[in-house]
Amino acid sequence: MKNIPDNQTVVSVNHITKSFRIPLDGSMNIKQKIVNVFKGSKGYRVFTPLNDISFDIKEGEFYGIVGRNGSGKSTLLKTMANIYTPEKGSVKVKGLLVPFIELGVGFNPDLTGRENVYLNGALLGFDRYEITAMYEEIVDFAELHDFMEECLKNYSSGMQVRLAFSIAIRARGDILLLDEVLAVGDEAFQRKCYDYFNDLRRNKKTVVLVTHNMGAVETFCTKALFLEDGEIKLVGDPHEVASAYSKSNDKSISLQESLSDNEYEKNRNQNININIVDKNGKTTSKFTAGDTMTVEVSWTNSDVKNIGVAIFKSNGDYVYGTNTYIEKIELSKNKKMSYEVDLNVAEGSYFLKAALFGENDAIRIEFEEHGTGFVVNREKNDYRWGGITKLTSRWRQ
């Protein structure tokens, strides 16, 4: 990012490799050890979640780390936080690094809310005087005035998270490591999280954020790293990283779908035939954002008076749908229609489903159970608009 000057490197990760020994049968008793010695088995297999990772984080950067489950993100974070010791390589940190692998570390259900504040605070390096000085603020922020003398086990999980978060944001560190903190809590709590992130960013704090939330990456991060199977896939601009991550996710989803395609084919309805073509009339499943997609629908049943189409994201989110009944379109006599749609959507995998209706859209004749998949890409550096879709909008003075 151009507005950040050449700051000094505060975290330097040098060629770290981390592996774990996974016990083969889960049991860790002496008997099994002896059996293993006789069998000549080591009793474990080696699993390497991080393989020769190197990168630098500069002062003031809001550094995102993304990757699918099992890609090594958490291991990387824990290695950076010195919880794990890497087999090879080193992590050099300048300044005090405070990790939040989880909110409320050390919380004890049998202690009261107040006692837990002191305990959790001690883990963040605050002594009792310092905690006492900020105790009121913590309770205010967590909105838990009436509950502080109660045991933590009587708290709802939301209350526990609120309390933990209120303490966590007091942490004085030069570098903060945050893992999936956003994933918990209701909307109001998430907004508080975002406000906190905004503050961190405004104050030019060095933050490392591990998340699945690409919205957060694009909003807050100044730089991002994409981890796949223990290796760095991409480092750099958060938008590029976010899109690479989304793409890799879509790939794995469509891979799963194509595996069961044969099964779908069997169930596929004989009454509807769908063909997706590009602007040249060529059958395709690949589009670029902004392209016009033409859907050719044909059917056999003569009771059909209306047809509808719906577009879904690969995760099942309903993007858009319409039908000829609400748009008051008459069907052609030769049982064939074509539907054109401008794909002003974010890149990703989508699928389209068609439906056949009778006199109105409440009378369903056929409804496709499985849709036809297509992929939308975006040209590199195409930032004419952002978000999941382009809305019809206008500016005024």
Binding site: N29, I83, P99, I101
Partner: protein, 282 residues
């Protein structure tokens, strides 16, 4: 190139880190938590830390002194017995707390970086506090039994520290072993049971001497037996048999000390080596 002075400096830094502000705060808070949770939900609360050894003392006294008539020739035998019981209970409690310390705080170790030894130390410190409270009861017994205290009685303090050092070293070793081999908890329980009878706590060592002088000499050279007998000697009665009096050599006390020192060295090296992988193994 690392110079000798650099290495020394680094080790000194580590040592000062042991007592760094952050670690002190954490240690204090963990000890406080242990203590708060200890008797939570019980009506008598902390009173139990005094009541428990007293009740055990009452049972042992009735069975062994009243019925079996052990300890007849020893002056102030009730105090003598209580002191032994309290020291032994401290030893078992400290090693057991230590043994479970790392595993019990596994969630913490997996989520945050801090020196792991703090957990083991905090587990043993709460036992040490308990011992201090119990020593007040011993003092009360001493006064009630009319035992004469002298300046030499203060030697019980270094003896307690000696026992603590031994218990702490074992706690370090056991806690690290327990991470990988959970069987060690059960083994230690059996071992302590055997050691209880192999240590002159409820019986005077003179009973063993009558049977076999060699076994008595071996028994008294175990650090726990040495500390208990020496403590009885300085605090209760100078008729208590000590290693020096039994083996008749002034330097014989060096043997239990040597056992303790070697335990400390082995435990420290083993703990240091294993603690690197605690976060993933626990």
């Amino acid at each position: 190139m690392l110079h000798q002075s650099d290495i020394i400096n680094r080790e000194l830094m580590k040592l000062s880190n042991v007592f760094s502000r952050r670690n002190r705060i954490l240690l204090a808070e963990l000890v406080r938590t242990d203590f708060k949770l200890r008797y939570q939900g019980s009506a008598l609360g902390y009173v139990w830390s005094i009541l428990n050894p007293l009740l055990l003392f009452a049972i042992l006294y009735v069975v062994f002194v009243y019925f079996l008539g052990i300890g007849k020739g020893i002056p102030h035998y009730p105090v003598y017995l209580l002191l032994g019981i309290i020291f032994w209970r401290f030893f078992t409690e400290a090693t057991n707390n230590g043994l479970n310390a790392i595993v019990a705080r596994g969630a913490l170790i997996r989520k945050i970086h801090f020196p792991h030894y703090i957990i083991v130390v905090s587990g043993t410190i709460s036992s040490l506090i308990n011992l201090s409270i119990n020593m007040l009861v011993v003092l009360l017994f001493i006064v009630l039994n009319g035992v004469q205290l002298t300046w030499m009685s203060l030697l019980v303090i270094p003896l307690i520290l000696e026992l603590y050092a031994f218990a702490l070293a074992l706690a370090f070793f056991l806690s690290a072993v327990n991470v990988k081999f959970r069987d060690v908890g059960y083994l230690w329980e059996v071992f302590l049971q055997a050691a209880f009878y192999a240590t002159p706590i409820i019986y005077p060592i003179t009973l063993v001497v009558e049977k076999s002088a060699i076994i008595a000499k071996i028994i008294i050279l175990s650090p726990v037996a040495q500390v208990i007998q020496d403590a009885r000697y300085v605090l209760v009665t100078n008729t208590a048999v000590t290693p020096t009096s039994l083996l008749g050599h002034k330097l014989i006390d060096l043997i239990p000390i040597a056992i303790i020192v070697s335990t400390i060295v082995i435990a420290a090296l083993y703990f240091k080596k294993k603690s690197v992988r605690f976060a993933e193994d626990v």
